[in-house]
């Protein structure tokens, strides 16, 4: 059982300290809960902002204009070009990482690594 009646002079300091700690703990828990509840939407919004504006976008309208001027076929060709380029970069990186391995072994490592990326690269 908790005894709050002072038995010695030092207890006179302990009792207010105890109440201070309890009230401090309750205040922090409540304010944290309140903060999280009230700001849940703000947090989500900030995450979304961060996702969408991870980089500054200078000349964005000019960039959009150039994308609009391209035909769907040109944009599709760009996808294939970019995909081929990333594949080449990936292979070059592996060649640097494993200089002793031959072309076939590098291709095997490449395919194994790519397999790990499938539908997990979100």
């Amino acid at each position: 059982m908790l005894q709050l009646s002072p038995k010695s002079p030092s207890d006179l300091f302990l009792i207010p300290s105890f109440f201070f700690l309890i009230s401090h703990f309750l205040f922090l828990s409540y304010s944290s809960l309140l903060f999280r509840t009230l700001n849940n939407n703000i947090f989500e919004h900030e995450i979304l902002r961060y996702c969408m504006e991870i980089k500054p976008r200078p000349n964005h309208s000019l960039y959009l204009k150039s994308l609009r001027q391209m035909t769907p076929e040109q944009r599709l060709a760009k996808v294939f070009e970019l995909s081929r380029f990333t594949k080449e970069l990936f292979l070059q990186g592996l060649q640097k990482r494993f200089p002793d391995k031959g072309e076939t072994e590098i291709k095997e490592i490449y395919l194994q690594r790519l397999l790990k990326c499938y539908n997990r690269n979100y």
């Binding site: 969408m52 309208s61 959009l64 994308l67 609009r68 294939f80 499938y118 979100y122």
Partner: protein, 189 residues
């Protein structure tokens, strides 16, 4: 086989076997928004068991991997199966058309995009945006999916059927993401 050739081969096979399809995913968001690298092609297919042999016979080892039982299972469960190009590492994900109202709606709205030498049936920009938002929601806020959706919105702005998108945001539980995407988007008019 290179990615464009693989795509053409798959589409030719689907056409030959009268399998109705629609290309979705990042390939289409790239065509309608901002092009980006991708190693997989997503295709929504209305396929029956009778088509399994033709698919399996067209893509044989050692250059490809496709599993007959996996296709069978996907049709039964209305889920998905894939085709792997084991020499290049490219992949085609085949998503079975479900009875889900949004699946039915976007499939019915598909249109043909004519390229030089071939054509392909693709999802409408509105459906591309909605599906990207749906994936973003399901994946807990994927940056890639959100950016894809945002760029389609920005590039196609002015031609989009906004009422159609808005009619689906609640059923697909993407209302909040859609509103935020509109706030963040900087389309040119």
């Amino acid at each position: 086989m290179l990615q464009p050739k693989l795509l053409k081969k798959v589409l030719a096979l689907l056409e030959e076997n009268h399998i109705d399809y629609m290309i979705t995913g990042s390939l289409v968001s790239s065509m309608q928004g901002e092009p980006r690298a991708t190693h997989d092609v997503d295709i929504l297919v209305n396929i029956t068991h009778s088509a399994i042999p033709s698919l399996v016979n067209a893509f044989t080892p050692p250059d490809y991997f496709i599993s007959g039982p996996a296709i069978e299972d996907a049709i039964l469960r209305k889920s998905m199966f894939n085709l792997l190009d084991t020499t290049e590492g490219d992949k085609v994900d085949f998503w079975i058309l479900t009875d889900d109202p949004f699946d039915q709606s976007r499939f019915a709205r598909k249109y043909e995009e004519k390229m030089s030498g071939f054509s392909m049936k693709v999802s409408r920009p509105e459906d591309t945006i909605l599906m990207k938002l749906r994936w973003a929601n399901l994946s807990g806020g994927s940056e890639k999916q959100l950016t894809d959706a945002l760029r389609v919105y920005e590039v196609q702005f002015g031609k989009l059927d906004l009422a159609y998108i808005e009619s689906w945001t609640e059923p697909l539980q993407v209302k909040e993401l859609w509103e935020k995407l509109q706030q963040e988007g900087k389309p040119i008019i």
